[in-house]
């Protein structure tokens, strides 16, 4: 595969509800600029909203990095969410539809994975969580 080039990077701290909205707006703007279809824009923004909220609620706050990338063939939007919270002990369980420890619907993580083309989750108990999602133009 050709080398991945990064065309633009934005960072947003996630510490409040308003920051979650800011992440959505940033991802939307990047997805529009990268010419993702309207449905794909909506999918990546929705996934980002879920992951940003998890970073805030379970991770105790953290950071989002939103990048526009090009893999030599197509453009994409890559969003990374990281926190230094408690981590996820059982990743498979956390990715199960309906599993929640916070009284939610348990759809954020599993749904975000379905909505994106690539989904990578790194987590260590006591150290934190890092999740990266990518959506490519078609």
């Amino acid at each position: 595969m050709a080398e991945l080039s990064v065309l633009g990077t934005d960072e947003v701290p996630i510490h409040t509800d308003a920051d979650v909205v800011r992440v959505r707006q940033l991802v939307r703007a990047a997805a529009v600029a990268a010419k993702l279809s309207l449905v794909d824009q909506t999918k990546i923004v929705t996934a980002a909203s879920e992951l940003a909220r998890n970073t805030l609620i379970y991770g105790g706050g953290g950071q989002a990095v939103v990048e526009t990338v090009n893999d030599g063939r197509r453009r994409g939007i890559r969003a990374l969410f990281r926190d230094e919270g408690p981590g996820i002990a059982d990743v498979d369980l956390a990715l199960t539809d309906g599993y929640t420890t916070g009284g939610g619907l348990g759809l954020g993580l599993s749904g975000a994975r379905r909505l994106c083309d690539e989904f990578e989750l790194d987590s260590a108990v006591g150290a934190g969580t890092c999740i990266q999602v990518t959506k490519w133009t078609r």
Binding site: D17, A18, V20, V21, R24, Q25, R28, L38, V39, Q41, T42, K43, V45, T46, S49, E50, R53, D97, G104, L105, L107, G108, S110, G111, R114, L115
Partner: protein, 144 residues
């Protein structure tokens, strides 16, 4: 924090969401609507979301909760105006919007609510002996 305005038109409360909803704003709307249903005696709630660019699990849960609360308070909720891209995304996310009635636009939503209220009015009239004005009693108890 911004708040979403609630309008009263006849026996219907109309909410048109025109801002990117923060979680706290969504929760406040839930509470404000519950209070307004009781204080106005509204029988229907119409939530217009054509300006919403996404419905994620939190907003979806808010819509379901509003529908449940309003039902307990004897009002029906209809959500209208969802964008097609939002509908596609919501289904893939896995949200079912359990118990939420939907319609394509405000006009169709109002038709649904009107129909419900008309059916109920007919029932009330049939149940009551002639001469007792059940409808006006309700209105007198719940001034606008």
């Amino acid at each position: 924090m911004e708040r979403v305005p609630i309008l009263k038109i006849g026996r219907v409360l109309l909410v048109s969401v025109q801002i990117d909803l923060q979680d706290q704003t969504a929760l406040a709307l839930q509470e404000d609507l519950s209070e307004r249903i009781v204080s106005t005696g509204a029988r229907g709630v119409l939530i217009e979301i054509s300006a919403l660019e996404i419905v994620d699990s939190f907003i979806g849960r808010m819509l379901s909760t509003i529908a449940s609360i309003s039902r307990v308070l004897d009002a029906e909720t209809v959500v209208v105006g969802m964008r097609p891209a939002v509908a596609i995304t919501l289904v893939e996310l896995g949200l079912s919007l359990g118990g939420v009635r939907t319609a394509l636009n405000v006009e169709k939503g109002l038709e649904i609510l009107d129909r419900d209220m008309t059916v109920e009015d007919d029932n009330v009239i049939e149940d009551e002996p002639a001469g007792s004005a059940a409808g006006s009693v309700t209105e007198a108890r719940w001034p606008n």
